[in-house]
Assembly symmetry: C2
Homo-oligomer: 500 residues x 2
């Protein structure tokens, strides 16, 4: 039960701390509007949210001034929620009648907010097992690498790369000189700015330590020797400020008592083997791009992974932008427009909203330290987000989830949001009861009547039928088992299916 | 039953076509020696094999002349088998008392043999299901990318990259000019030579077409625009020479009737989802490095994936070097030295040996076209390799495999090789019988007595217990099912385990 001052009711709305709200397009915009209206606005006055419409139409109408304004506002306020947006293709430019193909807003945001890292973590639902049992954290360096490369397509000849130091008196020198002997080559040049790797290290290790997660650093430095600096900085920060704390918590027990380096291609293998989770990885930009998509798929889908851009203001405070890892879900939007039922799982969107609200409240309280009102608001926000998460998770657990989780009997987009709103209201109001009834949770299946199972014997049976020993009984093994047990429904003679 | 002229016996050894045999180190060298002795040499006179010892000691003693010689021999002959070798670390240099840290031989080989692609395909055992049900093919561009990058670590300043054409009269131009504002940067420059992508395309599509596999091209060209040329060349070759043939065989049915491009990060997701296999991917060098390691892990381990470097001689004939994807297996070697039993699965080594022998025979017959003796040898080699593969697979299927496949009761390294040798001899001699008994194969389980199963009903039951619909019944689901079926062994009252 939270302290009295952190409780909320619909009678007196709390003024939500300022944050930037970037609206996008299609199905996710529709769902976010509904969630804001049904979940947040009954308890919060959101008038301090600064709203920017980053739809194609809006960017077109303002000649992209809206993007510049949003970036500036994000820089000022420091907490940003962003809905999925559309980066229009040539076809979409035509269909929407745009002046031009407005590019991805990501570059402007990463630059404007001094992006250090894109944090991408697995999202979990209490009591429902997904691909990784425990959280997997990922820091993807937000700058550098081939994303900002210069390049050209060239024929035979020589490529000369020269560095001219800014420092007066330092002579220029040749970085690389190569002869190109093919008729058709592409040449590529890029740089990795490493100044912010120290900040990345603190963010990463801080997060891992707090969550009880074992950190790994992923590079290809064994072959790409220039990546050594990334590892060296991470290791230095770790040894100086974190190693002892990680050792104390036993978080290095499974990796030899020290921070471990993983070669990037080996990391693709570990991501498949380490399904227990409980580990974190920090990597360069492109490796992070590849590996986090793999994590998303092992865990379940991009809907179950966060995407948070973390930058830094000049005063040292963190700018954090929170978004879902998926797009605008065009197919469901088309269904919706055609009047058909939809069932959008909003988990990634909700986690982003929660993250933005929490960071907004934290920043606001920090900026007005000593202001008891701000502290109360912060506690109210955190009580709200925690309760919302519980309401959301329990709705999934009661089989009232969206159809991607609960099957064909699952709820529609609207019904699901309504159901969570109802449960959220119930949980929040229960906090006021003098002696509250226990919070409703799904009972552990092991508590059920007749659950007097000999797990060891079951385990032996399982192993017997799991012929290939992969930890699963697949369809073939299942069939074989039924045959063995004489339970397989026979074809020839019509027979009653056993009452299961 | 093969034609009479293709049969083999120990009475009269066949002269094996010339190939380069590169020996390596530790456990894999020991196992390869045994296999050559027990499997190949009873039927083949291997005196035309050119043998090069690429152990650290040998490279050290010859000042690496042995590597140069091996590369030259490979260039002349065109068919190479290579055992795993050790690229010594600083510690190993000391332990072995080497003059220097001899580098990986890969670079010299790729250059010397004009490497186009490294083909890495899943290895399958008939009748045993692994990660991918059907083969997965992969072509990794053998040149270009960051492996050959020039780089430096620099501070603030300007980086200028200029291209000077070889063609007279063409003016030089600036490829890239960038200001570096961080105190600590690394700058990286590389090129992708694309001339051999046409050859790569023909190799890839030819292989896919022959095996009935759907091809995909993987790049990050949506962001890394310079990669467009890779895709464009692949598409051009496909449209011109292959599209119709793929359409005829129905191999484009599941991908919209055309060659498909996959973005590299999306490819990491598909590799996890497409466990049916039956697809191929072609990619740049680094993407191929990452993705093939992922494939190895999804399929089972690096022991179940090939690694074949394909290059081209000036006369257009293909140089092919075959190796296993794993290392020298130091831990088993230490066990062996200590007198303990070992159980090395030689599948990857055997596939490499088979590949090299087949390519050697093919080249030899091509070079002496019209020479009936060479054609006979080729047929004998292919009869041998096919029979060896069958003997190997069946040994696994009879539960006489190595312990990684058959569990603790599996065979030791030596016993397994002996068993395969025995079975190989049996199969080859059976070919001489006038009316041979049917080849021993494991009967399909469906042929068994009582197999009158209604697959549809079984399917429905399976779906019922596969709660999360992932196509598997995991331990939790299995337990739930037993409880439901009243078959779960109970803890409290001692009870007889059902006769299963």
């Amino acid at each position: 039960k939270p302290p009295k001052h952190a409780m909320l009711s619909t009678d007196k709305k709390v003024k939500a701390p300022p944050m930037v709200y970037i609206a996008g397009e299609e199905m996710t915009r529709y769902a976010c509007d509904l969630m804001v209206q049904k979940w947040f606005q009954p308890y919060f006055d959101t008038s301090a949210w600064q709203y920017f419409d980053l739809s194609c139409a809006s960017r077109d109408a303002t000649d992209d001034q809206v993007l510049k304004d949003a970036v500036q506002a994000g820089k000022d306020i420091g907490a940003i929620f962003k809905e999925p947006t559309i980066t229009p293709s040539a076809l979409q430019v035509k269909q929407m009648g745009l002046k031009k193909a407005w590019g991805s807003p990501n570059g402007a945001m990463r630059r404007g907010w001094n992006g250090i890292t894109i944090s991408r973590d697995t999202i979990h639902i209490d009591g429902i097992e997904l691909g990784y049992k425990n959280p997997v954290f990922f820091e993807r360096h937000a700058v550098g690498g081939e994303y900002g490369a210069g390049w050209n397509q060239v024929g035979k000849g020589t490529l000369l790369t020269t560095y001219l130091p800014k420092e007066e008196g330092s002579p220029p020198f040749v970085v690389d000189k190569r002869d190109l002997t093919d008729d058709h080559n592409v040449v590529v040049v890029y740089h990795n700015p490493y100044d912010n790797v120290t900040s990345l290290a603190h963010l990463f290790f801080g997060r891992c330590l707090e969550a009880g997660i074992t950190p790994y650093i992923v590079t290809k430095k064994t072959v790409f020797k220039w990546q050594e600096g990334f590892w060296a900085t991470m290791k230095e920060v770790f040894d100086k400020d974190y190693k002892e704390k990680f050792l104390e918590k036993g978080l290095l027990d499974k990796c030899g008592g020290d921070l471990q380096h993983l070669i990037s291609d080996a990391a693709t293998m570990q991501l498949i083997r380490w399904t227990d989770g409980g580990f974190g990885m920090a990597a360069h930009n492109y490796d992070g791009d590849m590996l986090t998509d793999q994590i998303a798929q092992v865990h379940r889908s991009p809907g179950f992974i966060t995407s948070n851009l973390v930058g830094k203001k000049d005063d040292g405070s963190l700018i954090k932008e929170f978004e879902a890892s998926h797009g605008t879900v065009t197919d469901l939007w088309n269904d919706h427009l055609a009047g058909r039922d939809t069932s959008l799982n909003p988990l990634g969107l909700v986690e982003a909203m929660i993250g933005a609200m929490e960071h907004a409240a934290t920043l606001d309280a920090e900026r007005h330290s000593g202001d008891g009102g701000k502290l109360q608001t912060k506690d109210q926000v955190f009580n709200f987000t925690t309760t919302l998460r519980t309401a959301l998770h329990n709705t999934f657990r009661y089989g009232q989830g969206t159809r991607d989780m609960s099957g064909p009997s699952g709820f529609t987009t609207e019904d699901f949001i309504e159901k969570v709103a109802w449960r959220l209201g119930r949980y929040l109001s229960m906090q006021y009861d003098e002696s509250p009834p226990p919070t409703l949770k799904e009972p552990d299946r092991k508590y059920r009547r007749n659950y007097d199972i000999d797990e060891e014997a079951v385990s032996a049976m399982f192993a017997k039928y799991d012929k290939n020993g992969d930890g699963f009984i697949d369809f073939e093994e299942f069939t074989r088992m039924l045959v063995k047990m004489n339970l397989a429904p026979a074809k020839a003679k019509p027979t009653k299916t056993p009452d299961v």
